[in-house]
Symmetry: C2
Subunit: 243 residues, 2 copies
């Protein structure tokens, strides 16, 4: 069903428009990308450390993450990815993965060949610039996480992460009104924040106890945005969101 695939590529346009304006031609070129759609259950690897795949994956529905494993079951999650994101864009320049990409929830994914993406970028310099910016924004998010891992307390860092995810989701129309989906387990949260699952649980209780956020049924409710921003020293500039 070509039309379904074209329809679904709109999430990519919506995401790119949070970074810069698209011309009608650019939107059309994106809609015309050849894509293979796959539906995966939660916790499935999309690409593995060491793979050489030849295509990029675009998240259409659900959440994904990038992560890497260490001995003794240690895992670090580097980023969360929501609809519109291309977690493995750098495969275009570095074909061998140095980490893995996996789903966090049931998810639908569009696979787009490197060839098609390279062609798209080559023929649309405006899109090339937006993809560049997108890659640099991803790097800025990595730095924000590093700052938290290295220098923020567990409490501050979790508050910071929630602020970030809320704004990213809202930018693509998936959140609003002080609440957003947060379909990740406490283990996932711990692997992103460098914490044990037990400690994540306790920090969440503290956060709830202080009427800052509550997380239930995979929904995050931000009950005191100002306080969260203050506690976590959150400055949204790094997200590079238009508006």
């Amino acid at each position: 069903m070509v039309s379904a695939a074209e329809q679904s590529l709109n999430v990519l346009c919506r995401k790119l428009e949070t970074i810069g304006a698209l011309t009608p031609q650019e939107r059309q070129a994106i809609a015309g990308l050849p894509a293979t759609v796959r539906v995966l259950s939660a916790g499935q690897d999309i690409a593995r450390d060491g793979d050489r795949s030849g295509q990029c994956c675009l998240v259409l529905q659900g959440w994904a993450c990038r992560y890497k494993l260490l001995s003794r079951g240690r895992r670090q999650i580097f980023s969360f990815h929501i609809p519109g994101d291309i977690p493995d864009l750098e495969g275009l320049q570095r074909p061998v993965m140095d980490h893995s990409v996996a789903t966090l929830t049931k998810a639908t994914i569009a696979c787009i060949s490197h060839e098609a993406l390279r062609e798209l970028i080559a023929t649309h310099p405006g899109l090339a610039a937006i993809f560049w910016r997108s890659a640099f924004i991803d790097a800025a998010v990595l730095r924000a996480w590093m700052l938290g891992l290295g220098r923020r307390s567990a409490f501050e860092n979790m508050a910071h992460l929630f602020c970030e995810l809320y704004l990213k989701l809202r930018a693509v129309g998936l959140a609003g009104d002080g609440r957003c989906p947060m379909p990740v387990t406490q283990v996932d949260l711990g692997d992103a924040l460098g914490l044990s699952n037990v400690h994540v649980n306790r920090v969440l209780q503290t956060l709830r106890g202080q009427k800052l956020v509550s997380l239930q049924n995979s929904t995050l409710v931000l009950e005191d945005w100002q306080a969260l921003v203050r506690i976590s020293e959150f400055d949204p500039a790094y997200l590079g969101l238009e508006r």
Copy 2:
């Protein structure tokens, strides 16, 4: 002195050649970049969080770093930069800095306008690809540091950092024979690894006591490469070094 400036831009060629081959034309175009050379003492900011500068800086001699400050004097260093690196390349796409760049040692820096770099990239697609790859390699290094901050012990992480820096320095001809310059203070090391200066000191003593590395007079000696690789689970693939 134009010839001195041209001469000095060779460090950039040397660095880029660790990523991909350069044609004579590309080398020439790089040598012809208009650059302003500055000499800075240790601990000087080159660009500050929030700045909008209009130019990129290329490290010619000495070391630099990218960092960000938090309240109560907390600092996280995101990356170390050695001769040939352009720490703020992303200024090309994101003109407002979301972190700072500073010297770690006495350093000489070449300032190159965004304009000139954009022109260079636009007229040399091969260089554009190499700069893309370079940006993605930087992101891979950030992820390696994240993995260490989140999931490695202080001991493992310091060993990992030393492995990384040794290979990066060797790739541009600044190290060899199991030793390399390491002109950073223990405080700097701590700010990179998310540790206190006191703990850095103790971990260094352990490392030395186990005959793994020694760090004296700003020189790092790797006494047991195999053991370091094993302990820190070091895999150099992420550095993307040609060879």
